[in-house]
Amino acid sequence: MTELIYLTVLLPLIGFLINGLFGSKIKNEKIIGTIGSGAIGLSFIVVLLILIETLGKPADQRVTIVTLFQWMKVGNLDISIAYQVDQLSILMALIVTGIGFLIHVYSIGYMHGDKGFWRFFAYLNLFIFAMMNLILADNFVLLFLGWEGVGLCSYLLIGFWYDRKFEKSTTASAAKKAFVINRIGDFGFLLGIFLIYMTFGSLNFTEVFTAANHIPVDESVVSFIALFLFIGAIGKSAQIPLFVWLPDAMAGPTPVSALIHAATMVTAGVYMVARCSIFYAMAPTIMMVVAIIGLLTAMFAATIGLVQNDIKKVLAYSTVSQLGYMFLALGVGAFTSGIFHVMTHAFFKALLFLGAGSVIHGMHHEQNIQKYGGLKKYMPVTFITFLIACIAIAGIPPFSGFFSKDEILWYSYAKGNFLFWLIGALTALITAFYMFRLLSLTFFGKERFDKHHVHPHESPKVMTVPLIILAFFSIVAGFIGIPEVFSGEGGNQIKNWLAPVFADAHSKKITYGMPSHFVEILLMVISVAGAAAAIWLARHVYLTKPGLADQIANRMKKGYSVLLNKYYVDEIYNKLIVQPIYKVSDGFLFKFTDVKIIDGTINRTASLIDLFSNNIKRIQTGVAQFYAIIMMIGIVIALFWIIVSLI
């Protein structure tokens, strides 16, 4: 069964080819949608069967490498198209194909009537193809291929409505921004790959990680590898300082935001760092960097999320913030918790985005939450599922978000320090607050839209059924990771499942004595109580006493406008980085180096070759005798040479 893993890559590719090549001819949305979703659905079934088979194997035999064919061989570098099926990749594959499938189905309803319907499904399938390569790869080159592939799809899908306006410019420039900023991260990633090859002489995961585990390597080298890889992760997973592309990525259709910019692609950085956990375990300094960047991002993005008025923007900043949590987990060495949060977050964040999409769909593409209000009665299913997702992300037990987030907070205290926990917990409160602000403004209170023109309505079944399924998992997904303080020793199933993957990393890292159960439960109670208070506060400010929010905003005008303008990060980057680079590029690199030096040289060379070409052409007279003479001259010279060289 495990050998069939290639199907999970092949099926989306076939779907992409069919819809991409013939989609414009098929035209029928039902057929296109069925092909697109079916390819992913079948992949999901295959992954599920592989999971079942793997569960039946003993824990130390759950890694299988499926080699399809040799890709290229240069010197000692031997790269194959090979997939590593292990606990980590199976889990990621389940998330990608499972949630991917639901979002595909949802898209059939959401994209109904769009003139680019077939193009949308072709891109989505291509994305899944690339993403599966990314998570299943057994070597860094194939992983990088997938990494770039998902980047490309992200670009294509952000700019999907390339003829539409987005904020001050177009969706195309939002797509470009995402692509360019990701290049910075990719550059770091590439450097990391080069350094790995220089150090270990291989790019195959098994070989590299085994070597790293057993052969003594200079800590500074490993630190650089870990740092470079992390730079790649920063770009892809939108962490400080490269997070600015993700909010703009909301220019794409909402299912894209759910699939790519919330549930799967942006967590690729987390996956990659977890996959390379051994390097990080060997480089404690870099781990600290990872934890601090994650923590700062979580806090920073959450505060911006407090005041945003675009429903998708709030969710975007919330995603950045949650990704920060995941890196915090990785940074304190709680790799399992990081991946656990990837999973729970995928459920509730995909649900939030799809719910937002449902609202936007029902409100005729209005995205400003100040113009919503009271939608509860118009869209009951969307409301209930959205509410579930909000409770999950706020970290209220027993919803899934509680388990993963609390585990991260606990480890940041146990393996990190009190400050980590404090900031983390504070961020959790802020998260609970802005999520219920969003909920209150959207579904409760006065109806602030123009009732004559806007007629809110519930979305069709094809959209609401995925919402219900995701809501179900947002509630129960946490139960596979019940903390050991409740479930007893070895009761945390996801931890047991992933333990072999991170065993080497854990053995490298020095672990301190764990604080007592009492502290754990105490911290848990504090954070839950805090979240509940934040929810109450949000309802109080936005529902019970409307107007209070404006008063607060007025009183703290400066702080409010700093947050509303996202700390002016875009403006600062523009002034400090973009403008200077642009000036140097335009003045020196373009007008001088390119036009004068490069183009000049090339044009001269080209005209020289043209001249040659037109003259040599004349030798071709068309007279056969002349041809024979040229041949004869060649033969005579050759014979003369061989005779001279032998004598």
Binding site: W71, D78, I81, I609, A624, I630, M631, G634, L639, W641
Partner: protein
Amino acid sequence: MIPTALEFQLLLPVLIIAAGILISLIIEMFSSKSEKILPWFSIALFVSTAYYSLLTVGHERIIFNSMLAAGGTANIFFFVFTFGAAIVTLISIDYIKKIGMYYGEYYILLQSAVLGMMLMANAQDLVMIFMGLEQMSVCFYILAGFNRKKIKSNEAAMKYFLLGAFATGFIVYGIALMYGVAQTMSIPAIANGLLIYSDNIIFVAGLLLFIIGFSFKIAAVPFHMWVPDVYQGSPTSITALMSTGGKAAAFSSLLIIFTPLFATTQSTLFQPYLVVIATLSMLLGSIVAIAQTDLKRMLAYSSISHAGYILIGVAAGSELGIASVIFYLSAYTFMNLGTFGIISMIENKDEGNLSLNDYSGLGNKKPMLAALLAIFMFALAGIPPFAGFFGKYYVFIAAIESNLTWLAIVGVLSSVISIYFYLRVVVVMYFQKDENILNVEDSSPALLGIMISALLVIVMGIAPGSIINLISNFVK
């Protein structure tokens, strides 16, 4: 020694084609529907041979009293020839009707030419090589002039025949000199005494003349003069076969001669010669192609420069070099067949629509053909992820490992030049306003052949590692 049944079995690829020729003759004589039957019969013949060749690639033996070889690289060449010929047949079906040159012997001559190629690839005796070469060449002389009503076609046949006969003279002369010294025509026997012979000036001169004769067949500068005229004048489907199968067959004979030489200490004896003609071919081919406006003529020069790249692999003189040559030839065969297939579809009755400007706006008019042609142009230019890139890549790697780094650099520079004229086609198709009305008759067999070529070009570009490994196993 009387050949055993096993030997006949191993020779089956050759025997299938030979028997096929005889059956085709009978079909042509007695069936009134031969024009419908023969192409598909040929395709069945070619494809079954291609399949059987790959199936028995592992059975390497010398058979028939050291006259022939079976299995190994010979079978890989068989596959290239026969599968290539199958694609040529697919392209021909509607093309020869359109041009008005349907004569029954067309397909029979194709089969005979392929039989000649196969003998060139598995010969172990100088006489066998010569026989195969002549069988292929004579068929090509006729096929080049097959469009009897057209002066250009007749001119091409005449020139090809005159200059081909001239080159054959040198091959025979070379064989005679070698025989004079070695007292044998058997290549394994010659290989045994090669170290002694390689000091003998008569033998070396004979070998050189032999190689020069084949330099003519592979279209290397300065023995290339016939190529532009013949490629342009011949019917397009025939140009397709000549530039691919014909070239590959000539290279296969060169490899048979060179492989024993590479195993000796004298392995670099002919390196200077090979390096010079490789350099000249690459540069002259690429540079002059720029000035061409006729697509077939441009591809003729492109074919010259590709001969140069392939010669780099021969000059490298290593196992990797030989493997890279075979890889390159396979890749080149399919990308060139696809290109000529598209040209043959766009060409009209009076051999018009062959100039570059006729392709303007093809991207709008025939998006499918344009996209396929773009793939082939990218492949020929050597842009990944298509087969052409890895062909060049392996050849250059082989050169670098044999301390011929500068030759690889020349190769890269020449590739850069060649990108200009390959991509110009793409530019014209997609960015030039169309001035003319283009009537392209659809031909599903041709389109099928083109798509199979494209598929192979892509597969060889995605999984080059596995293919070069397969080839390397049989290169010694």
